[in-house]
Structure formats: structure tokens, C-alpha cells
Amino acid sequence: MRHGRYRFLAGAMLPPLLLYAVFVVSPYAQAFYLAFTDFNGVSSDVRIVGLDNFTRLWSDPLFLSALRHNGLMLVVVPLVTIALALFFAASTRGGRLLRAYRVLYFFPQLLSVAIIAVLWQFVYTPNSGLLNGFLDGIGLSTLERSWLAEPRFALWCVMAAMIWSAVGFYVVLFAAAIESIPADITEAALIDGAGPVTLFWRITLPLVWDSVQVAFVYLGIIALDGFALVQIMTVGPGGPDNSTEVMGLSLYRNAFTYGKYGYASAMGVALFFLTLTLTVLMLRATRRERVELA
């Protein structure tokens, strides 16, 4: 019995753990080492350069603008997405028809980010795109733009696509949280004369705060990425005048176009610490007293 037990454990766990060690643990560990080298693809002449890569990051104008763009997305995308999702979740309680909205809103979540990027690239296309066609149709043709080619608008267009695809998921997530609020709490508030707005701010929001917290963290991670949307949607690398450059794109280009693997790894390390800090900060900033639902 004992013998069979250890043989089973070894047989069941060693292949997956080996796979995990080779393709996940070892690359992550190597990345921290490579970030301190000038590795350019030829392993015979790797030099340790200390913190050089990181000091260069701070004076690399392209990386700094990427950082700014991710920073802007980090502020805009979670806030807008969560606000919209909370509103939709709270207003689709009740009838079957209202619930059908949730089913519909959720669908974009299932699409690959590459498909979303291609679809929205078409929407923004100047001559035959849906957006300019719409503006033309309602007599606002003066507002028509070549949306993705103008530095002022390109990043906002990318963010719109990001929000479009994310909202539905959080509608469903928040709706589930709202539905788990006991009916007597809501009823008591209504009897006390609370209107829908008071009800939302004083009852619903505090009771679904756990889900909102989770949403902030997830959306923050999405906002620090943006690689696929930018790479596929906007022209050239990094959009018009690099106005849509994001950190992931800088990393990808330095590694797989310029072969500066050491420098790219340093960007990866920076990105890792940013993600980690963000997660901790988001969880702290949004911490509230826990409300126990009896």
C-alpha cells in the first residue's frame, strides 16, 4: 500500500512538474539574470553589465512614453469599465428581457484580442469604416477623422476597443454579486424611503465591494498590457508619432526585432514589479470594512 502510494504520486506529479519547471520556472528565473546582461542572442559573449539596462530604461524616451500611455490606460480603463458595468448590472435586475441584455453584453469577452483588434481596425478605417459611416449618416461628417492615424485620438481609440470588450464580463460578475444581496436588506431600505440612487450608493455598492476590488486588479493588469491591440490596430510600430507605444510592444520590438534580449528582459523585470506594486496598491486603496451578510 505504502509503496503503491509513492509510485502513484511520482507517476502523477513528475511529468507535469517537469513541464512547469522547464517552460515556466526556468524562463522566469533566467529573465531576472538576463536583465543584468547585454545578451544579444549569442550565448558565448554574454557580459554582466550590472544595472546598466535599468539606467538606460530611465533615459529611453520611447519606453518612458510607453510608461505614460500604460499609466493613462491604467487610470481610464478600469474606472470607465467598472462604472459602466456596475450601472448595467444594477439596472438589469428583474425581467427576462433585462437579463437578456447581460447575455448579449458578455459576448465580446469570448473573442480573441486579435479578433477584437482586427474588427475595431475596420470600424475606425477612414473611408469605409463603420464609425465615419455612422457620423456621415447622422450628418456629422465634419467630425470624421482617420482615427488611428492621428496621434491625438489613436490611444483613445485603442482604449475604447479595450473597454468595449471588457464591460460584459464585469456586468455578469457584478450581477452575480448583487443577486447574492439578501432581499430583506434591499426591501428595508426601500421601505425607509431610499430611491434607486441612494439604494445603489448606500446598499448595493458597499455590499459588492469585494467584486469591485477584484475587477480593479484584473483591469489594471489588462491596462498594463494592451500589446495585441496596439500591435494589430495602429499603424507602424507604436502608432502615429509613437502615440500608442506600450511597454509590451517596446519589450517585444527590442527582443525580436533588434535582438537586444538583455535590455528587453530588463523591461520585463520592470513590468513585473509594476504589476506587483499595482496589485498590492489596488487591494490596499480599495480596502474597506468587510460587511458580513447574515
Binding site: L17, V24, S91, Y105, A114, Q121, L130, F227
Partner: protein
Amino acid sequence: MKTSRLVHVVLLVWALLVTLPLLWAVVSSLKTDAEIFDSPWSLPATPRFDNWARAWAEASIGRYLLNTVVVVGGALFLTMLFGALVAYCLARYPFPGNRIVYYSLVAGMLFPVFLALVPLFFVVDQLGMLGTYHGLILVYTAYALPFTVFFLHSFFRTLPTAVAEAAFLDGCSHAAVFFRIMLPMARPGLVSVGIFNFLGLWNQYLLPLVLNPDPDRYVLAQGLAFLAVSQGYRSDWSGLFAGLVIAILPVLVAYILFQRQIRDGLTAGAVK
């Protein structure tokens, strides 16, 4: 509670925002290039299904779809098998190092894939697996493991122990207990995490972009992005729209059939 008229209008506007781009893509995929340029609102004079045929064959969408099915199918099977095995062993067998293994697996969820990208490329290259089906399958599996183990670990812990103990008394081996008793009992959890993994793997873009440079092996997301970005196909708008619609259709059909399970599966992952 009555929903006000204004709220109804807002809900309807968002519903249109979600559906219009998708409907527009479907309609455009049935138009000629001239009709597409003429007006985004016009309907095709006659639906041009040859656009779809052209996207399928000439633009290789069919080939990309097949590649995706092979890679995602293989990776999903392996992820579920490995994930369930590891989660079960960690949840049910106390052994020295159990916690260390569990936490080092779960820690994998904290790291952005971008950090691993450069070394991963060289690891896969040295193993001679760049641009191969099995290379992608193994990498996909490795990166899907942490969440799968994390999710199933808590699931196996909640299952009653009595049935397994009875089976051991009847002389069942450890492997038989796992495959014939515990795995069927864990079905609801397996379905949730299976749906979650399927969509995650189906939608992969970054990993194939770096590890799968051979155009004959492109997966759907990668191939479609390649067609949209590459200049050669720029002139064939209707074909591109058709390719886009073909790429969306399988997901749409799956959603219509299993919408409840899909939404539950995806959101279950988030609240854990």
C-alpha cells in the same frame, strides 16, 4: 422596482454598440469590395458567399482553423489531465514538500508572461520546438497549469472522502481511485475550468506570435492578425471580413449552445 425610460435607452444603446460592429462585419463579408467602399450601411446586391470560400482556401483561414483545433485540443487535454492529477495529489496526499509544490505552482499566476518571453523563446528554440505543434501544446499546458491546479485543488478538498476510502478497502489501486471515482465526482469543477482554459487557449496571441514563426502553422488569431497587417491582402477587404466572420463563428455557436455554462465557468475563475 420600475426601470426608468432613460435607463432603458442607455441599455439599448450599449446593446447596439455591442452588436452593430459584429453585424456590420457579417454584412460586409457578403459584399463586393466596391460595395464596401460605396457605403458601410448598404446591403449586398446579392450575398457573395465566394468571399468566404476565398478566405477559407486562398487566405488559409481553413488551415489556421485546423492548426488551432490541433494545438488547442492537445493542450486542453494535457492541461486537464495534468492539472487534475497534480491538484488531486496535492489536495489528498500529505507528503513532505506538499505546500512548497503548491505555492510554487500558484505563484506562477502572479508573473506577467512578458517577463518570461525572451528566455522562453530560447528554451523552446534549444529544444528544437519552435514552430511545431507539440512545442506550442507543451508551452500552453505549462502556462495553463497554475490556474487549473489552484481551481481544482480547492474543488478536490470539498469532495467527501468516504467513497474513496471504501474503494481502497475493496482493493482499488491509487490510480484506479483517481480515474474511476474522484475524476467523475469532480465533473462540475472540471467543466468550469475546462471552459475557462478552452477560451484562454483558443484566444492565445502573444505565445504563438513569438514561438510559432512558420506561416503554415499559424493559429487562427495569429493568422487573422497577419492577414490584416500584411500589405498583400490589403486590397481584398471582403475576403478579410469573411475571414474575421469565420473566426468569430465557432465562438458564437458555442456561446449560443452553452451560454449559461460559459458565463458561470469564466466568472467562477474570477471570484476564487
